[in-house]
């Protein structure tokens, strides 16, 4: 037998930013007793790409972005040109 004691002290959150709440998923601000989330997804095997991914081109405002470590003009452009021959 497990005795599980939870003490909830103050809970204050400043800001929540969410891109998407997808199928059969939940966002709750509050208390709950039971949550069961099931998801079954079936897709043809060739839809799952195994191997190197072709990179997307740079977004339009890539040079102005701050804090995006992967946005480097030289590296991105070289890779993209190689893939496209």
């Amino acid at each position: 037998m497990v005795y599980f004691k939870v003490v909830n002290h103050v809970l204050s959150v400043g800001h929540i930013e969410i891109l998407g709440v997808s199928s059969a998923s939940m966002l709750q601000i509050g208390d709950t007793d039971n949550v069961s989330l099931y998801s079954m997804f079936d897709t043809p095997p060739e839809s799952v790409i195994v191997g190197p991914m072709a990179p997307f081109p740079q977004p339009g405002s890539a040079s102005e972005m701050t804090g995006e470590s992967l946005v480097e003009t030289e590296v991105g452009d070289t890779t993209f040109e190689e893939i496209n021959g």
Binding site: V21, S23, M40
Partner: protein, 145 residues
Amino acid sequence: MDDAAQGNLYPIRTANIGSVCIISAASSAVVQFGDRGETNARLRALALQRKEDHTTAGDVFFESYTVFYRDMPKLIDPDYDSGQVLALERSNRSPHINVGCIHIIAAGSSSSILAGNGMNLTADSRIKHIRQYPRPRPLPPIVSC
């Protein structure tokens, strides 16, 4: 035993939210401010890619695919069912949950956004992705003269 006697001063917590901004809540998404007892959300989807137009190629049926009527995985544990495994005791020291600002771009099919208390939530999503393309015609057999 009384909740206050156990040290649980606030048996029910209230959610306080400053602002909510949701751009899209589509396809049976639920947005609720307030408490809820029970939720049963189900999603069944056939993602179909065809050579022919959907209006001429006919219907597809969920019954044809086992993923749509397969049972949920069950926990078989008589001890758990009789309440002999876990004893949970919660005590709240603050009457509120505070959130300043919530910004959600999209809430999709059968999803739930709830500001408040819930008791039981069960959500089930089953998606099958198929393609319907005619098979290539078999080559004629090689006939030796």
